[in-house]
């Protein structure tokens, strides 16, 4: 009995571990991103902050015109982020000598290989297309904004001022244009070739080639090669990435892996809880039934004992009564006999006297 229970517990623990750590089990068919997907390499060392990419982005995506025109350099004095009217922004992170006059970096959706937004969306509004773009489908979006929470790069934005049809806004990597064989708007517009469009694998080769040719110019790291599992938008830079407003503490774990363990517990809980709880209920009900039965038995037994004792007493009493009755009869008989004998004596004496 005890061994079978122990082996059962062992089995349960084994099952729990197996389900809780699915990545080791599934290591062989782990998704590593679409082969031959496209991406963009942004060489920040070439960027001059001209904002041509922003202008082109607004044009191809029909975004509203900004308050200040795109050639107004004063915009660069404050750090901006993407918002619901800008899919991409260029920021100036450092002052610098002419001709560039500073250190710049363009930001937009990085089109993760395994996107956090797509993993987080409970209505599947995000899709990673085989071309490499992470695309958003407004027609199903509920507007919970979990994608904004989940994105490690703070990319998706929301049209908060729209009362009836609010939606997420973010860079599409110009997927419709890419499908037509055109370049993304920003890449086409860049006068400095700071943006290179191509197959992601080729872009990594190009980046490594540039680093090899100019080892003293570039930081020896391709940002996006492994960050959060890899992104289709890649960056190389002559300045440390943290100085370009980029987080270097994101790690290389793809977002879906962060939650897969918790999701794997769902079937365990659904499978185990009813059995355990049902078992506890049945045990407790049985305990109640047994307690009730024991109580009833005890009462019945007490009753029986009391009855038996009572009967005994009655019997004894009867016997005693009979006995007493017997004595009485005997005494009466004796008395009667004595009296009769006495009378006889007196009669005889009387006759003799006559």
């Amino acid at each position: 009995m005890s061994t079978s229970r122990r082996s059962f517990l062992k089995w349960v623990a084994g099952a729990g571990i197996a389900v809780a750590v699915p990545k080791s089990v599934q290591a062989h068919d782990h998704f590593e991103g679409y082969a031959d997907s496209y991406g963009v390499l942004h060489d920040a060392s070439l960027c001059i902050g001209c904002r041509s990419c922003e202008a082109a982005c607004h044009e191809v995506n029909d975004l509203p015109a900004p308050e200040k025109p795109f050639d107004d350099k004063s915009v660069l004095n404050t750090i901006r982020r993407t918002d619901d009217t800008n899919y991409t922004v260029v920021n100036k992170y450092k002052e610098g000598p002419p001709p560039k006059n500073g250190v710049f970096r363009k930001q937009q959706c990085n089109h993760c290989k395994e996107p956090a937004c797509a993993s987080a969306c409970f209505v599947g509004a995000f899709t990673k297309s085989p071309e490499g773009a992470v695309v958003y489908d407004e027609s199903v979006c509920v507007g919970c904004r979990y994608c904004l929470i989940a994105c490690p790069f703070n990319v998706p934005t929301y049209t908060y001022d729209d009362a009836l049809t609010p939606k997420v806004m973010k860079c599409t990597m110009c997927l419709p244009r890419v499908k037509e064989g055109k370049l993304p708007g920003c890449v086409e517009a860049c006068p400095m070739e700071a943006l290179t469009f191509g197959k992601r694998e080729d872009l990594i080769t190009i980046a490594k080639e540039r680093m090899r040719k100019h080892p003293d110019r570039y930081i020896n790291h391709i940002y996006g090669e492994n960050e959060v599992g890899g992104t289709n938008w890649l960056y190389i830079s002559e300045e440390p990435f943290e100085e370009l407003g980029m987080r270097t503490d994101l790690g290389i774990t793809p977002a879906p892996e962060l939650t897969s363990g918790a999701l794997a517990m769902v079937p365990v809980i659904i499978g185990m809880w009813p059995v355990l709880l049902g078992g506890i209920y049945v045990i407790n009900r049985r305990k109640d039934i047994i307690a009730k039965k024991e109580k009833e038995d005890a009462v019945a037994e007490m009753k029986a004992v009391t009855t038996a004792e009572g009967e005994e007493k009655v019997k004894k009493a009867k016997e005693q009564a009979l006995k007493q009755q017997g004595f009485a009869v005997k005494r009466e008989v004796k008395k009667a006999l004595e009296e009769a004998a006495k009378a006889k004596d007196e009669n005889q004496n009387g006759e003799e006297a006559k």
Binding site: F122, G124, V142, Y160, A163, R247, I269, Y281, D288
Partner: protein, 388 residues
């Protein structure tokens, strides 16, 4: 004469304040749905979730845990002496979850699409899908668990009989669904290791949320029974008044144990995260305040109250634990979220967001008061004496 008495009784301080809050909330609600979220909230692209999620949803769900905790204790674990606590706990659970969903209607961009994740396109990789599915199902379970009281009030004996037969099944369902979504609310934050402060981020988040929800549920039941005593004493029968003493000490003992367990799991999590060095930073002291001041301290108080048979200490511990749960959920959703950003890029709630939260809570209190006054919640229905 009697009409006058009724009219007079309507103008109690509670009713007047409740009416003012609800009347004040209506124009904000109209603004929200005619001018968008931007008009009434301080939400932005970096801080997309405010107090409607951090307080109304995360905290609301934790504090509504009394329903499953009490139902499980009585129906499954056989602790029949707490039977009188089941109905009030189920009622607050049902109202709590209803309010969570009601508040969510304000928060999501297109609330009329809330069925989409289940009817149109299932995002099964999302923890939020699990939360949504479980909350939706559990709201149904709570409705059914609560319905016998309403059916007794309405005198529908046959339907009531059918529902009462389902009690055990519904209770098991309730515990399964609660385990899943209470823990998943914590699991929702597993995807943001880069945004949530490392002292609060942990792969144990789902465990923390689940265990603390039990403490929250137990404490809320004690807290509510204290409040009911104060406000609805005339609605309670002798059976309920007697039972509430059992509940205070029984649930107090359980809460002491659960909080001790929660404290231990939190310390394991701290060890797993290995961020001991952060304990003596500003956030670290904040973390210590939460862990020692709002987990260890109420745990000690509960134990003390049970040992000394002092109901006052237990009631205070319950109140303190509830505060601690509120603090924990707000830490995760608000105080320690986006911790790395400068204050100018952080979120502070707009007064109209607070207005809507108050509006939602007040509606809940009014409905609770109505139901407790009309239906057999704190007393037995005379037609069904065999149930208790």
């Amino acid at each position: 004469m009697s009409d006058q008495a009724v009219k007079k009784s309507l103008f109690t301080p509670f009713n007047i304040i409740a009416a003012l809050i609800i009347l004040g909330g209506i124009p904000i609600a109209i603004m929200r749905f005619t001018q968008g979220l931007g008009a009434v909230t301080n939400l932005d692209h970096t801080n997309p979730w405010g107090i409607w999620i951090g307080f109304d949803l995360l905290t609301g769900v934790a504090l509504a845990a009394g329903g499953y905790v009490t139902a499980a204790a009585v129906e499954l674990f056989g602790m029949k002496k707490f039977h009188a606590a089941v109905r009030p706990a189920i009622l607050t659970g049902f109202l709590g979850y209803s309010l969570v969903v009601f508040a969510l209607l304000f928060d999501v961009g297109r609330p009329w699409r809330l069925p989409y994740p289940f009817m149109v396109n299932q995002g099964v990789t999302s923890i939020m899908f699990e939360v949504g599915a479980c909350v939706g199902l559990y709201l149904t379970v709570l409705f059914l668990e609560f319905s016998p009281a309403a059916l007794e009030w309405l005198g529908l004996k046959k339907i009531r009989k059918v529902v009462v037969r389902l009690t055990i099944l519904l209770t098991v369902f309730g515990v399964v669904l609660s385990t899943l979504h209470q823990s998943s609310l914590g699991a929702m934050y597993l995807i943001v290791p880069s945004k949530l402060h490392p002292l609060w981020y942990s792969s144990y988040l789902p465990v923390f949320f689940f265990v603390s929800s039990i403490a929250a549920g137990l404490s809320m039941v004690i807290f509510e029974s204290t409040m009911s005593h104060r406000n609805f004493h005339d609605k309670m029968d002798a059976h309920h008044i007697e039972a509430s003493r059992h509940v205070t000490f029984g649930f107090g003992r359980a809460a002491a144990l659960v909080l001790a367990g929660y404290f231990a799991v939190k310390v394991f999590g701290l060890a797993l995260g290995n961020h001991w060095d952060l304990l003596f930073t500003g956030y670290g002291f904040w973390y210590q305040l939460e862990l020692i001041g709002f987990v260890a301290f109420p745990c000690f108080l509960y134990a003390l109250g049970v040992r000394d048979k002092n109901a006052k200490i237990i009631k205070f511990a319950a109140f303190w634990t509830v505060l601690g749960i509120v603090l924990n959920r707000l830490n995760i959703s608000f105080f320690c979220f986006n911790y790395h950003l400068p204050a100018s890029e952080r979120y502070t709630p707009h007064w109209m967001e607070i207005g809507i939260s108050l509006f939602v809570i007040t509606i809940g209190l009014v409905v609770y008061k109505f139901i407790v006054t009309k239906m057999p919640i704190l007393h037995q229905h005379p037609d069904y004496p065999e149930e208790h």
